[in-house]
Structure formats: C-alpha cells, structure tokens
C-alpha cells in the first residue's frame, strides 16, 4: 500500500558546536517507500537523523523539512513526532523506572490516540519481545537486540507517517535483524509507512529491499538510485565510488565535541571499510 504522504527535505544545512556537518541535504520520500541512506562513518548520516528529529544541540542554518506541508525544522522535537516523524535511535538511552508500556501509553495519549494494552501485547508477540521487557524500565539493561526490537515495537505502536531508522542493524544478531526488518517492511506495505534507513552495512538492505538508495558523503547526498548503487558500493567501496563520482571529501572532519550530545559515529575511524 502507498499513501499520499510526502516527506520533503530541501537544502538542509546544520551545525553541531558551530561546525557545519550537513551541507545541503535534499531527499524526497513518499508514503510506503523505503529509502536507504548509506555513507562512510563521519559523513553526517546520524547528524541528519537527529537534525530532522530536532536534537537540541543541533542547529539548522538553512533548509526545510516538511511532512505533508507541515514544516518540522524550528519546531520542538515532540511536535515533529506528533506531525508523523519517528526516529529509531542507534543508541537508545536507558530510562530506569519508566516502563515501556507507560512510555507507549503516554506517547499515544500525546497524539490523541487511545492506549491499547491488547495491541501492545500483540506487537510484542510479533516482534518476539518478552512480556518482562514491557514492564521493565525503557532499555534498562536490555541487550543490543532487545533495544532494537523495542525501538521497532514503539514504531509499530505509534504508527507514524515516516520513520528514520538510524543504524537499526547495529548490535543485532541475524534473527533480530530479520524480525525487525520484516516488521518494518510489513508496516510499509500495510500502513503506508515511509522509511529512511540509515546504515553503512549492506546486510540490512537485503532484508529491507529499499526502493531507493542514496549515498551520503561529507554532509551531502552525492548519488541516488536503485539497488545497483549498493552493488557498485559492494564492488568498489566508498573511496572507489567517490573517485568515480569525482567527490574529494568523504567525511566531515569535525573536531570531536566534548558536550553531552557527542555523535559517536563521528569519532569512529572514517576510513574503515564499511563492508569488512
């Protein structure tokens, strides 16, 4: 199923601690579509996801991002969520004492929906999330796989128009990756969810089968196309592709920020072979 929803990202520039990371990002997503954004560590992928979600220490200096005409940039994070955006985080934070069930109920209430325990239990079953995780604090001593299953559970419960999956494949074993990806694919087909999957591994693509693949380097989308782009990347790697495209900068060599919101992907080795 597709629907008429549109997520339009136009010329987004953003800085973190005064350093420009995003240097003009353009993307258009339709409801029911799956887009993948790939790129080397340090290219600004995660910054894109947090900029769109409105993390407080990320400053947008230019551009626009709208869902069905509603401008997100410049509005508080919770408004963006209520406008239909969801971010499955790469590193979901632990919140002891706040139960997953309570969080989901509060989030549903906030968007004017009725909390439903029946639906929560059903979704938990679909995603193989054991009951105990619904009554434990959010992500509190969850394994990597449990965290990503619960991120996906929240996504399924909140039924946004568009979801950004920020490296949802990191820290997942094969079974969990398959469960999570299948649930996401079902949402695109059944509910018209539009997906922006950020990854630097090809493994996720095999499960998600994106309609569009975008390659990001140094804070810009440098190539867009179909699955053939992933095949080309597999063959020549990011550096090879950059040469073919005539792109000289792969990453934004940002000084490592010392603030609380340090982006861990920036600090990682930007030249590591993503398919190694």
């Amino acid at each position: 199923m597709t629907n008429q929803s549109q997520f339009e990202i136009r010329g987004v520039h953003a800085t973190v601690a005064g350093f420009e990371i995003l240097r003009g990002v353009d993307l258009t997503l339709g409801g029911g579509e799956v887009h993948a954004v790939m790129g080397p560590n340090g290219c600004g992928k995660s910054t894109l996801s947090h900029t769109l979600m409105g993390r407080p220490d990320y400053t947008v200096t230019a551009g626009s991002a709208t869902i069905d005409g509603v401008e997100l940039l410049g509005t508080p994070t919770y408004r963006r969520a209520q406008a239909g955006l969801f971010l499955a985080m790469q590193y979901p934070v632990e919140i002891p004492g706040v139960r997953v069930g309570d969080l989901v109920a509060a989030a549903l209430t906030a968007r004017g929906s009725e909390p439903s325990e029946t639906r929560l239990n059903l979704e938990a079953e679909r995603l193989a999330v054991r009951d105990e995780f619904l009554t434990r604090g959010v992500n509190d001593e969850f394994s990597g796989g449990e965290k990503k299953r619960v991120e996906t559970l929240q996504l399924a419960m909140l039924q946004p128009k568009f979801a950004i999956l920020d490296e949802i494949d990191s820290g997942l074993d094969v079974d969990a990756l398959r469960d999570v990806a299948r649930r996401v694919v079902a949402m695109t087909q059944e509910d018209g969810l539009g997906v922006l999957a950020i990854t630097h591994y090809a493994r996720l693509l095999e499960e998600l089968k994106p309609d569009f693949i975008h390659v990001m380097m140094a804070g810009r989308i440098v190539a867009s196309g179909g699955p053939e782009i992933a095949d080309r990347l597999e063959a020549v790697g990011y550096e090879g592709l950059a040469k073919e495209l005539g792109v000289t900068e792969l990453t934004v060599n940002k000084p490592v920020a010392s603030g609380k919101f340090e982006d861990p992907t920036i600090a990682a080795n930007p030249f590591a072979d993503p398919f190694a």
């Binding site: 979600m53 969520a81 934070v93 919140i95 004492g97 706040v98 509060a106 906030a110 968007r111 909140l158």
Partner: protein, 431 residues
C-alpha cells in the same frame, strides 16, 4: 526562655517517673545552647534561622484529654491507610485516641499513650534508652516537654500482619509540639508501623523523637511520612537498636514543611542484624529537606543497606549527609549507601555528603552519590516519541522514584504519595 523552664516542664503533670524525666531534661536545657551550623551534623541546615522564643509549648489546657476526637486527620487519613491492626491519633504531640485489635490486646500487645496507660518498669526503662546516648538539644527539649507519646509494645513471638498506624496532626499557630514514639519489638515478633505527620499551613515547630527497639530475631517495617503544611518546621530524630538476627526496614517519605529535618539512625548491636533504609523526598518552592543518616555497625556479621532518592525544584534545597560506621568488632559486616538527587531547576540545589568510618579490616562497604539535572538524552528520547517536555519530565521523575516507592514497607499509600509528587512536578516553574 520562660516557656521552656523547669517549672513549665513540671506543670505538664502525669506519672511521677515521666515528670522526673521531664524535670531532669528541662534542667539540662537551661544551660544548653541551640546548635549552630558549625557543628558537622547541622552543616548546611537552616538551624540559624530558628528563633525558639517565637514558639511556646502547647499548654496543658489545649492538649485535651485522651479520647478527644476532634483531631483532624484521624478520619480521612485512617481511611487512606486501609486495614490496620491498631491506631493512635496524636494531636500536637498528645495521644488523643488509641485503638487496638482486641485479639492482639489479649496477646499482650500495647498500643496506647505512654503518659496515661499505666506502663510498667520495663516500658519506663525502655523509654529514652535508645536516644540517651549523645542526646542533643532537641532530644532534651522533647524529653522535657513531651506530653507522653505513642507506645507500641509487641511481646515476644507475636506476629502482626496489618500495620499499626500513628497519625500525627500538628496545628497550633506559634506553638511547638513534641511527638514521641516508642516501638519495642519482642523476640521473634513481626510488625509494620506507619507514622504520618501533617499540619495545616501554620507557623508550627515539631520536635519529634522516635525510638525503635528491635529484639532478637524480630522484624520491624517502619514507614514515616511527612506531609506538613508549607510553614511548618520539623526536626525529627528516629533511632533504632537492633538485636541478634533482627531485621529492620525503615522508609521515610518527606514532601512537606518549610524546613524539615530527619536524623535516621540504626545501630546494629548483635550478629546477624540487618537494617534497610530507604527514602523519597521532593522539595519545591522554598523548602529545605534535610537528612542525616547513620548506619552504625557494632557487631560482626551485620548488614545495612541505604537508598535515599530526592528531587528539588524552584528554589528548594536538600541535604543528605550519611555516615557508615564500622566499629572495631564489626568484622564481616556489609554496609552500602546510595544517595541520588535530581535538581530540576536552576534555582534549586542538593547537597550530598557520604561519609565512611571504618575501624574493622574485614568488611564490605560501598557508597555513592549523585546530584544532577534530568539527563538530556532521556528527555530527548521521550520527546522524540511525541511526549511533551513537561510530561517527559514527569515520567522521568516518577521513574526515578519508583524503585524506592516499590520498596516502601506499606504499599497502600504509594498511589497517593505519587500523586503528591506529580502535583509538585506540575506546579514547578520548569527549567
């Protein structure tokens, strides 16, 4: 200070043994000075603001007789605590009503007013025995002017399922009251005691003392809840002595008052004794909530655990100062202490001072404390789900407290206490 003279103490009347104690304490007071913040145990406190001259003891004629049922709080509060085995209603420090399940009375349990229920030599000896060591000004003052107090006396081998509740209402404007509680658990006995303090918004000083004696192999669960009005001052001492294999769980919930202080201490006198102390506190507006704790290990193979969690907002302050003392003979003892504080607004502040005094060499001991705002990442995570900032803050603060709420010895009031916390969060001015 005329109102705290020896004659004034003597005039309170009652049994001779009590009058003799009062007179001795009043004599001690006449030469004593109010403590100052120079003393470590009063550091960071607001003791310097206290002008004792402004307060007069609640006079005899205003104390009323036992059986006076005008005490506010007895009714709705008694309903809120649900099923109970016994109840004492205390107004301005005077027990005005007491009741006890007759079957427990038949087993020798006593729940009554120390001043009027004809206590024997054992009770007389127990009264004051726990706080005698290192008594301070306010303990002496309480000794000199307490009208009597709540006696909860559990004989050996008696096990009581439902709680015994003590409901304190302190209301006299410009007055000081002296609530007093003595809980004595005989060998192998078990009970839960709930003390609840409240006041209207009157200029009132409460000087409270609670003594807990937990006999060999006895188990006491003790919960004190402080919900005073916004002008009330509360200076409380709660001290316990534990026998062999005795188990004590104390919990404090402090939400009210202008300046409210609790000194909570447990002395582990014999091997196998275990103490668990937890607390929840939330200060807002201009409140100061002040805690001094002592986990005092005298004997070997004793164990203590402490978890105090608090939040402050607006211009409120909190103080937590905790001492773990492991004495020479306390080999193989284990002692743990954790204090965590959320500072919700810029004008609020929390002090956390953990202390260790270890004189034994074969012990396990740890302590930790944190003071800080709500974690930005947690807030962002919840907001990314569409939860508005104020709702996110409420969820995080309640989540922060929930492990302590879950450990309260009497769960029946948790819903109501959480509601008070929610009201405080929602009233807060925000960051």
């Amino acid at each position: 200070m005329q109102q705290f003279s020896v004659d004034a103490a003597r005039a309170l009347g009652g049994p001779d043994w009590l009058v003799a104690r009062r007179v001795a304490a009043a004599e001690a007071i006449t030469t004593a000075e109010l403590p100052t913040t120079v003393e470590e145990v009063w550091r960071y406190s607001r003791i310097g603001e206290l002008d004792l001259n402004r307060f007069r003891p609640v006079p005899v004629e205003e104390l009323n007789e036992p059986g006076d049922e005008r005490a506010p709080g007895g009714g709705p509060w008694a309903l809120e605590v649900g099923a109970h085995a016994g109840m004492l209603v205390v107004r301005d420090g005077r027990v005005v009503r007491h009741e006890l399940d007759p079957s427990l009375e038949a087993q020798g349990v006593r729940v009554c007013d120390i001043a009027t229920c004809g206590v024997d030599a054992d009770v007389q000896a127990a009264f004051g025995s726990v706080v005698a060591d290192g008594a301070d000004y306010f303990t002496d003052l309480n000794d000199a002017f307490t009208p009597g107090g709540a006696l909860i006396w559990i004989p050996d081998n008696v096990v009581i399922a439902d709680p015994i509740v003590v409901l304190h209402w302190c209301e006299g404007d410009g007055e000081v009251s002296f609530p007093r509680t003595l809980v004595r658990m005989g060998r192998n006995s078990e009970a839960t005691v709930l003390e609840r303090f409240g006041s209207p918004s009157t200029d009132h000083l409460v000087d409270a003392v609670a003594e807990l004696i937990v006999g060999d192999n006895a188990q006491l669960r003790y919960l004190s809840i402080q919900e005073h009005g916004s002008k009330t001052w509360h200076i409380g001492l709660q001290r316990a002595h534990l026998g062999r294999d005795a188990h004590l769980k104390t919990a404090a919930v402090a939400l009210g008052g202008d300046y409210a202080r609790l000194r909570a201490e447990a002395r582990l006198d014999a091997p196998g004794a275990e103490s668990e102390m937890v607390a929840v506190y939330f200060g807002d507006q201009n409140q100061m909530l002040d805690f001094r704790t002592l986990q005092d290990h005298v004997a070997p193979r004793t164990r203590s655990d402490l978890l105090f969690k608090g939040a402050v907002e607006d211009t409120a302050t909190s103080v937590y100062s905790g001492m773990i003392r492991l004495r020479e003979d306390a080999q193989k003892a284990e002692a743990y202490q954790t204090n965590r504080n959320l500072v919700l607004t810029k004008g609020a502040s929390a002090e956390s001072i953990p202390n260790l005094e270890i004189l034994a060499n074969d012990v396990k001991c740890s302590h930790g404390s944190t003071v800080g705002p709500i974690d930005d990442e947690q807030r962002y995570y919840l907001e990314s789900r569409g939860i508005a900032p104020q709702d996110a803050e409420r969820l995080i603060v309640l989540g922060f407290f929930d492990d302590v709420f879950a450990r309260l010895p009497h769960g029946g009031l948790v819903g109501r206490l959480r509601k008070t916390v929610i009201d405080k969060i929602d009233r807060g001015v925000g960051v």
